[in-house]
Symmetry: C2
Subunit: 277 residues, 2 copies
């Protein structure tokens, strides 16, 4: 294992205080060649403008976040979600990334049926997989930490994500491996091997686990090295499973967002380096 | 399934605003015959005084919470933890309960090694199991929700808890099945069957899952019926696994604690009734 910085990708959310041109400039200054983007800031700057900016800077877009939210029962909501995901796939293609990350959705209001919600995700993937394929985009189901199971994502483990993904061809549907969501799970290493064997590790993301968790538990992801997760160990699992792609750092953290974005990017790069020395 | 109220047990923490004599009186008024106790309020009132009060009221103590915190590396801390657990076992025996619930402990400062921490739990159980047995007390490893894995309990799933428990005789070490901690886990039903087949379901506890989670994620457990968990389903699993013991409601909830404790107890009983009609 080396701290090969060419593997590093900065997810836009980590430094969301930077406007897109600022992010691109900071990447240029620090020699960062890869970024993960989010739909909202891309739309704010403009899709074609973003694509042009990124292309001209010679940056690679490793992932687009995010599609998903497939669990609605109401047919109108459901069809709206599918439409929105088709737009997300088109946006991914325009931005030149081959990977759209999916946050699959929580329980619809009043429902307590996790299994049925997971089946509705499979139904949506059956519709979207071929459409994504046509656009050269792969869907990456991201298992979210079980603390998000009711309100954000009923897919809580890599095993569940793979149970869904494996119903479809690997070039249509795979998984996102994010240390923050799976680090506690003693079954995850074996599931990473399963994902790798099937060619389904579509992205590998890092964030560290720090406590206390903030209210709502969304914006408490730790800078690499600040928390409980052994990053070398997890990178070892994905590499043993054959993954040689980008390693994206995606942090949601109020304290990082309050700081100068270029400084946070430089720190993140340095932490990435130290984690894999 | 019936809403048989003789199965109901109120965990003291649910109504921690009630002093012990108030709790005992409220149980008498509402026909509640079973309580789960916590060490701190018992010690505050006095151990022998509590035992006498409970005995004279004809109440059954279903569990004592909690032993555990076995993950320290430092030998002095470790030996202090074992001593404290021996006291907890003696207290359980004095209170007339056969079950001590264990919260096993998080990662020690600076450590990122979940596996090693779990092994230290096994080491502690090997020392404490026979001591508990001598006192007529069974240890119940409680898997805590994965959101507590770093700072409270490195045992995050029923499967992990059983992997530990099964190294020891069932009358020494079993598991605590608490809906709040396992509801998201699609492997939990099979693990409940495994636990039941081995005679290792030492307690069954209910709390509902509500969001948003509060800062620190400790005191946001929902009143039965307020959240995402299908209580009938989970009771069905433990009963299919042969469990016929008490069903204890254990809520940590700031809003419930701010209300009149007798009113909360009556509401909890009513919610229990409605959940299993």
């Amino acid at each position: 294992m080396t701290a090969d910085l060419s593997r590093f990708s900065i997810n836009q959310m980590t430094v969301k205080q930077l406007l897109l041109p600022e992010l691109v400039a900071a990447c240029g200054q620090l020699g960062v060649g890869r970024v993960g983007l989010w739909r909202e800031p891309v739309q704010e700057y403009g899709l074609t403008g973003t694509a042009k900016l990124i292309r001209e800077a010679g940056l690679t877009v490793t992932t687009l976040c995010r599609g998903g939210f497939f669990t609605a029962i109401d047919p109108v909501e459901r069809s709206r979600a599918l439409d929105d995901n088709r737009r997300a796939i088109e946006e991914a293609a325009t931005l030149g990334t081959d990977t759209l990350v999916l946050v699959s959705g929580g329980l619809p209001p009043g429902s307590k049926d996790l299994r049925a919600a997971r089946e509705r995700i499979a139904d949506a993937l059956a519709e979207l997989g071929p459409f994504a394929d046509d656009h050269g985009v792969r869907l990456a189901i991201e298992p979210l930490h079980p603390m998000y199971a009711s309100d954000r994502c009923v897919v809580s483990t890599l095993a569940q994500a793979l149970d869904l993904a494996e119903r479809f061809p690997a070039h249509q549907v795979g998984v996102a491996v994010d240390t923050y969501h799976i680090w506690w799970d003693d079954q995850a290493p074996a599931q990473i091997a399963r994902a790798g064997a099937g060619g389904r590790i579509h992205t590998f993301q890092l964030a560290d686990w720090i406590t206390p968790l903030p209210e709502g538990v969304l914006d408490g992801r730790g800078q690499i090295g600040d928390g409980a997760i052994d990053m070398r160990e997890w990178r070892g699992y994905v590499e043993a499973a054959g993954y040689t792609g980008p390693i994206e750092v995606e942090l949601f953290n109020e304290e990082l967002w309050a700081r100068d974005g270029r400084e946070v990017l430089a720190e993140t790069l340095e932490r990435f380096h130290s984690a894999f020395l």
